[in-house]
């Protein structure tokens, strides 16, 4: 899949969060701690009427096929040409206390990282699902506040079970 456009401020902010911080998050847990206070990042909490095991199952079923993607972004103006290849990598971790969905972003070309990003790329999004009784689940989101709306909406659809579609990752940024 290809995309031709220029990365927006939110996309740059995610890279900035990872690259300009004194120590960029190397794990999802570090990302959870850093994201709430970072510029262009947000946290969000909502509850869904589904059991944790169902939410976890949906994350496991949809994330690999939908979020393990490579996006090529080409921007061309007079005198400049930019080709950015970005890989997204999802990870789902299911435990007794919660289910986690992590999304990492790695620019393979076109972006310089001041320091080596974590294996798999910079953490850009974490969704944690906690049981709230037998048939309800609380979703805690850590992610960009701008430019990643489609990812937020898709994960909400998976959590509620109302929409199992994949986010068009070319629309990010």
């Amino acid at each position: 899949m290809t995309r031709t456009w220029i990365a927006s401020a939110a996309g740059v902010a995610v890279v900035s969060l990872a690259s300009c911080a004194v120590k960029q998050p190397q794990t999802a847990e570090e990302f959870r701690k850093v994201a709430p206070g970072a510029m262009f990042m947000k946290t969000e909490t909502y509850e869904v009427n589904r059991a944790l095991r169902d939410v976890a199952s949906t994350f496991e079923r949809r994330a690999p096929g939908c979020l393990k993607v490579t996006v090529r972004t080409v921007s061309q103006t007079t005198g400049s040409y930019q080709n950015i290849v970005t890989e997204y990598t999802p990870t789902v971790v299911v435990g007794g206390a919660r289910a986690e969905l992590h999304v990492q972003q790695l620019h393979k070309t076109g972006v310089l990282y001041p320091s080596k990003p974590p294996e798999g790329g910079v953490y850009i999004f974490v969704a944690d699902a906690y049981p709230e009784g037998a048939k309800r689940t609380r979703i805690q989101i850590y992610g960009p506040s701008r430019g990643y709306d489609v990812l937020h909406r898709a994960v909400r659809g998976w959590a509620t079970g109302d929409n199992l579609g994949c986010p068009d990752m070319t629309k990010i940024g």
């Binding site: 899949m1 290809t2 579609g165 068009d168």
Partner: protein, 153 residues
């Protein structure tokens, strides 16, 4: 699932071939029984379906492409043989450039069964849902099958 690199490379090459207008050809769709019905619901994108045959060694052969430009598109896919279906959603504009997303699945239609496939793209979220029904039976959903699940026989 274990990936068959050579097979996957073939599939990707075939998919790319299918996606390029230069290598594109119409799917003959000449089987008398139209066992698959594709129902596109699209907003802001075009969609086509690339159809590939898959042999016993998991090698693919690009058979052709159908435009998903009607409310329902009927096609015949050989029963009891694997096929590889690539749903290709694309858009293009001067302002936002060109975008292309694909959703793929292996499908082995069973003789006498019918298949309904919903291919949707709305508000930048896309989905392909395959459902199968036996003769005189009710539709039930089938999970999408990644190409890497193909096993040489």
């Amino acid at each position: 699932m274990r990936l068959a690199p050579a097979a996957l490379a073939c599939a990707l090459a075939a998919a790319l071939l299918g996606g390029c207008s230069g290598g594109r050809k119409s799917y003959p769709n000449d089987l008398p029984e139209k066992n698959v019905s594709v129902r596109p619901a699209l907003s802001g994108v075009r969609a086509v379906l690339h159809i590939h045959g898959v042999d016993a060694q998991c090698r693919t052969e690009y058979l052709g492409t159908l435009d998903l430009d009607r409310p329902s598109v009927a096609l015949g896919i050989p029963a009891d043989r694997w096929s590889y279906l690539v749903f290709d959603f694309s858009s293009s504009s001067w302002l936002s450039g060109s975008h292309r997303m694909t959703q793929e699945t292996l499908l082995r239609p069973r003789a006498g069964h019918r298949y309904e496939i919903a291919a949707t793209y709305r508000e930048n979220i896309y989905d392909v849902v395959v459902r199968e029904a036996p003769p005189r039976g009710q539709l039930r959903p089938l999970p999408l099958q990644d190409f890497s699940s193909c096993r040489p026989r």
